[in-house]
């Protein structure tokens, strides 16, 4: 219930507090069957999966998890705060490059140090870019976000150009290669492609949990309020600029974490990871999976990464055509996304089962 953005419901401080305060035990009992149970089942399935499937499927699922985190991090901005951005890949790529440069050039081997540093640096980058970017972002839903879209697009492209130019640091247009699997995760634990799956699972689940707590906190309700009616939020005394700006930073930092995992996963970062092509993929993931549902982008990531994999097996040259066709289909036919369809279907099923 609480995972869905309902227009016009959470618009005030009072409502937000009350929503959080109403009888938590009863709420969680009601939420258990439709929401928490499937999440636990999926989690257990993912953990058990490697025992049943070959290693290439395992690596595919690793990629799905990484892109799920990427999509959910972007959805803080789009689904919750209502800010569409075309530059989210900039943070993904920047996080990945941070980790890669620290390992290859900085000699910092420890996974946790890399992860935390990349998280903080990406957040700093978002804080730096957010100030100019939000100068062109209007107030309220009536204002068109086109200039914000263009600025964020330009930031992503600019950063990928910088990555091409700074050859000594980033390896230029051929990319930064030679990123090994994480080291120093736990004493005595050697990470290979098999155990990287579980490491990714843990990191992604922790990040998803943190983001979930964030968007369902008072802060998250304020973001939804801004999405619905920014003027009213201002009238209620909220500094809406600060909320939007901080959500940009948080989304960027978590996007950076996804980038770090992706850098370890592929062992290489290329400038294209920061540019428009990557942004398009994450946009598709969010739209396809439903921006209005917290778990939506996860569905999107499973579908998009899965279809990309199938396309790479059977029709490797036609992937852009397939991707374009999916985008057109989703926008024209199911603009609310698959996630909404799945959720309503599941709720109907649960209700029928209960009665």
């Amino acid at each position: 219930m609480a995972t869905q953005v309902k227009p016009g419901v959470f618009t005030g401080k009072l409502f937000a507090r009350r929503a959080v305060a109403t009888a938590p035990a009863e709420r969680s009992a009601r939420a258990f069957l439709p929401t928490i149970l499937p999440v636990i089942v999926i989690g257990v399935l993912i953990l058990l999966l490697p025992t049943f499937v070959p290693s290439y499927i395992q690596s595919l699922v690793t990629k799905m998890m990484i892109f799920a985190l990427f999509g959910v991090s972007m959805n803080i901005l789009w689904g919750f705060a209502g800010i569409p951005t075309f530059g989210h890949a900039a943070f993904f790529g920047f996080g990945g490059y941070c980790a890669g440069i620290l390992i290859v050039h900085g000699g910092v081997g420890n996974f946790w140090i890399n992860l935390v540093l990349a998280f903080l640096l990406t957040g700093l980058l978002a804080a730096g870019l957010g100030i100019p970017a939000f100068r062109v972002y209007g107030v309220g839903a009536s204002d068109n976000p086109i200039y914000f879209l263009l600025v964020t697009l330009a930031f992503g492209e600019l950063l990928s150009r910088v990555a091409i130019s700074a050859r000594s640091l980033t390896g230029g247009s051929t990319g930064l290669a030679g990123i090994p699997y994480p080291q120093g995760v736990l004493p005595g634990l050697h990470i290979n492609s098999h155990s990287f799956y579980f490491l990714t699972f843990v990191i992604v689940v922790v990040c998803l949990f943190l983001i979930y707590r964030l968007v369902n906190s008072h802060y998250g309700y304020a973001l939804r309020g801004i999405h619905d009616n920014e003027r009213r939020m201002q009238a209620l005394g909220y500094n809406t600029w600060l909320y939007k700006y901080t959500s940009y930073i948080v989304a960027g930092a978590f996007g950076g974490v996804a980038g770090v995992l992706f850098a370890y996963f592929g062992g290489v970062m290329v400038p294209g990871n920061m540019g428009m092509a990557m942004t398009d993929i994450v946009f598709l993931i969010v739209i396809l999976g439903s921006a209005s549902i917290y778990l939506g982008p996860i569905v999107g990531a499973i579908v998009v990464v899965g279809v990309e994999y199938l396309a790479s097996l059977y029709v490797p040259d036609r992937w852009p055509l397939i991707m374009g066709a999916i985008i057109v289909f989703v926008i024209m036919v199911i603009p609310q996304g698959i996630g909404v369809l799945l959720l309503t279907g599941w709720r109907r099923l649960v209700r029928h089962g209960a009665s």
């Binding site: 100019p132 086109i146 200039y147 330009a154 492209e157 130019s165 985008i327 057109v328 926008i331 024209m332």
Partner: protein, 307 residues
């Protein structure tokens, strides 16, 4: 991908004999201006649909490439450059009409959706072009009329580039005249200000905007075939061209054709001079201009806020 494309206009087309700083400067200026007019032709169609109708068509780069390939196919089979130009403009105009009629018409006012949809269409178009014509770059043939160079002192400048500047100026004058002096232009400007009011005066604004979109797409195709002898044509060039288009339109300003030509001149000259004088920063000089203009004047140097 984009680096190769952007390098095009200065790639040794101009032959400079001994030459000192002055002749380098003149050559760079001429190069910059001719590049600017290619950019103008590229961006004019986008500026029209974006500034006039508030429809953002990010498939514009792919439409340009489609125009180049349509035109080249005709040029190679019929041997006539002018037939190629006509087919490119008409063919791409019809594709644009299809895009508007089937998709964009239904997404009025939903800018993020329009943007994502047209990006998807751009991907699909680029991949279809790759499928049909193969991955290799094609070079457009310069029409026989314009082969050769003009010599001024010890400087040489290809005639074809002068021709492009001329065509660019002609298109500018036509668009300017249409915008300011004709009834269609008046309807379009009225629709920009107040769509409902324009409709209630009995004007079929839907028809006008469809026609404008068709015209914008046709301009993309026209630019594609005209630019082919200079920039060449390869399936993946659409992305880089799209970014250039966005920069031109945003820097110059939306809503007026004067803004587009100003933006094209600024981006064209900055890019060319950047490559000639500070090559290490050449990849992003125009991006810096773009971001600075967006931050200082989001509606562009000349122009009005569309939305």
């Amino acid at each position: 991908m984009s680096a190769g494309l952007l390098a095009g206009p200065t790639d040794g087309v101009l032959v400079s004999t001994p030459g000192g700083r002055v002749s380098t400067f003149i050559i760079t200026t001429l190069n910059g201006i001719s590049y600017a007019f290619i950019l103008f032709l590229l961006a004019a169609g986008f500026s029209l649909t974006f500034g006039v109708m508030g429809v953002i068509n990010l498939a514009h780069g792919a439409l340009y490439v489609l125009g180049a390939y349509f035109g080249l196919a005709i040029v190679n089979s019929l041997g006539s450059f002018w037939a190629g130009v006509v087919v490119a403009a008409v063919g791409v105009g019809l594709v644009g009409l299809g895009i508007y009629f089937f998709f964009l018409r239904h997404l009025y006012g939903k800018v993020p959706e329009q943007a994502v949809l047209t990006i998807g269409l751009g991907y699909a178009l680029a991949n279809i072009i790759l499928w049909v014509w193969g991955p290799f770059a094609k070079m457009g043939m310069t029409p026989e009329l314009f082969v050769g160079v003009v010599r001024v002192g010890d400087l040489a400048f290809p005639i074809y580039r002068l021709f492009i500047v001329g065509v660019g100026i002609a298109v500018l004058i036509v668009l300017w005249w249409m915008q300011d002096k004709t009834r269609v232009g008046a309807i379009i400007r009225a629709g920009m200000d107040n769509k409902e009011m324009t409709r209630s005066l009995g004007i079929n604004y839907g028809l006008v905007s469809t026609a404008v979109f068709l015209f914008g797409a046709a301009l993309a195709g026209f630019a594609g075939i005209l630019g082919a002898p200079v920039l060449g044509a390869f399936p993946s060039m659409g992305d880089a061209l799209l970014l250039l288009t966005l920069m031109v339109v945003v820097v110059g300003g939306t809503g007026y054709i004067q803004g587009t030509v100003l933006g094209a001149l600024i981006i064209g000259l900055v890019d060319t001079f950047g490559k000639a004088y500070i090559p290490q920063a050449a990849l992003f000089t125009s991006y810096v201009i773009f971001i600075v203009v967006l931050l200082v004047r989001p509606s562009g140097l000349i122009g009005r806020k569309v939305f």
